[in-house]
Amino acid sequence: MAAYRADDDYDYLFKLVLIGDSGVGKSNLLSRFAKNEFNLESKSTIGVEFATRSIRVDDKIVKAQIWDTAGQERYRAITSAYYRGAVGALLVYDTSRHVTFENVERWLKELRDHTDQNIVIMLVGNKADLRHLRAVPTEEAKAYAEKENTYFMETSALEALNVETAFTEVLTQIYHVVSRKALDAGNDPSALPKGQTINVGSKDDVSAVKKTTCCSA
């Protein structure tokens, strides 16, 4: 295997969506993860914007194609196209604004209405650096995440706290699901990976495609 791998050389391509109220920091989470950048005065997202980044899980290259959407309700008609084929979602709220946490329920409903029921979801409490302004206690969000059976993490895009971990965790879980599917197909249940696994539907997913590369050597 050569040391250099081309940008489009990957084993898996996973589509993730970033959702949550306007101004919770979705775009900054994405730019922190994709480019290690943070901008205090980032512009509002219009419609939908994209970024990609590849990470290594086990010995595989997993490419995340992340869809960042506008938080304003106005841009909601696009949703069905937006959620199509998504295998993971980061549902973001702002730990310093309780109303954004209250709206998580609505986002979760929309997500579940439009995606496969086994999509990997992580509840993300962003802006954890604003400690003096905290309005959503960690325990409250954690309890909610447990109740709704989603993963949970508090992040700070500004301080680059847990951002990498959050995305990697979601991608790894999806990877496990996909490898389990491959194993299921091979009728070898004894080799199931340890930890929580989620089945992403029975039929083949468009976005969780195993890419056959011709130049991986």
Partner: protein
């Protein structure tokens, strides 16, 4: 009522006939903390409940103070002439009796109307706006002159988005508009306060001033075009306009003219933008089949990746100067087409008519 005095910052002229003027108050204050809704008026005191659209929750409205309201009633009855300080302390600088206008105060917008008929026009305007940007309930008092609206969470939520976007507006325009760039801190703060701007201390005066102007015009637009309301991206479109236009009312009407076409891209059902993206997709298909094939492979032939570019007319892809140039060419082109002139100077024939 003290709060109302001397805080007026903005007026918009609407071309309607009128002589005697009366005021119509619409509450528009953004200083209400969540769950604690109040009103500037007494007329709504009697257990009025406002049902919000969307989530069906109910918010109980309370009157703020009876004494201030009766004081206000007295003030309302004062005759209002041209070039005067309005009864509520807001200055009215227009002396054109054919216009009616509204003004901003910390307690909301003040509408000034000429006659009963105009009040109905205003009421119609406000009724349309209900559930949109202002999320308000329109109430008339017994004399039929005063309209008041309650605030709601929807209202505050949407106002918050406008403020958020206004603060995030960039400062590229500064070098092109020295007069606005030189605005003093006190002037900027005064305007910011009048539109209830928050968290702006980290900004330079000219950017505070710019943000405050964006807010006044965008809020007015949301009221003017209640079907569309405020939508993220509009601040990107307005920012260059107010950079080259010093007068708020002129900038407002320019924006209205601009939005006549652009508003379709902001429609709630996204029909307008989808149609546009569809067109782009077809153009690519016809002009560059190889590129189109590539898009199909990526499942991107719907051209959603162009969404933002189309909605804000490349504002975020181009710098300030390039934006002005592109927009002027586009506008000139549209005007030429309307006037029946093509690039060759020949009469334009619309094939579809």
């Amino acid at each position: 009522m003290d709060m109302l005095v001397d805080r007026c910052s903005f007026r918009i002229k609407l071309a309607l006939k009128g002589t005697q003027r009366r005021n119509v108050i619409v509450s528009g204050r953004d200083s209400v903390s969540p769950g604690e809704e109040h009103l500037a008026g007494q007329n709504l005191a009697d257990g009025l409940k406002q049902s919000e659209g969307g989530d069906g929750s109910e918010i109980t409205c309370k009157s703020e103070s009876e004494s201030s309201d009766s004081e206000f009633q007295t003030l309302l009855k004062k005759p209002i002439g041209d070039k005067c300080v309005l009864s509520n302390g807001c200055r009215k600088s227009s002396d054109d009796s054919n216009n009616y206008y509204w003004e901003y105060t910390p307690d909301g917008m003040v509408f000034s109307c000429g006659c009963k008929a105009e009040i109905w026009v205003t009421k119609g305007l406000l009724d349309k706006a209900k559930g949109n940007i202002l999320g308000m309930k329109i109430i008339r008092d017994q004399s039929g002159n005063t309209l008041r609206g309650s605030q709601s969470r929807v209202h505050n939520g949407k106002l918050r988005i406008i403020r958020l976007d206004a603060i995030r507006a960039n400062d590229e325009w500064i070098v092109y508009t020295p007069s606005q760039a030189a605005v003093s801190l006190s002037e900027a703060n005064k305007l910011a306060e009048s539109v209830c701007l928050k968290d702006y201390n980290h900004l330079e005066p000219c950017r505070i001033y710019h943000a405050a102007r964006l807010i006044s015009i965008l809020e007015a637009y949301a009221l003017h075009d209640s079907e569309i309301g405020y939508c993220q991206g509009m601040s990107d479109l307005l920012s260059p306009i107010i950079s080259v236009m010093v007068d708020d009312s002129e900038a407002f009407w320019c924006f209205v003219g601009f939005m006549k076409k652009a508003r379709h891209n902001f429609r709630l059902d996204e029909v307008g933008i989808r149609r546009q993206l569809n067109k782009v997709s077809k153009i690519i298909k016809g002009k560059d089949s190889q590129f189109y094939k590539h898009l199909v492979e990526l499942q991107a032939e719907d051209c959603f990746f162009l969404y933002r570019m189309v909605v804000v007319l490349f504002r975020r892809e181009l710098n300030f100067e390039q934006t002005l140039c592109l927009w002027e060419v586009m506008w000139a082109d549209q005007t030429a087409i309307r006037a029946g002139i093509t690039k060759l100077g020949l009469p334009y024939v619309n094939k579809f008519h």
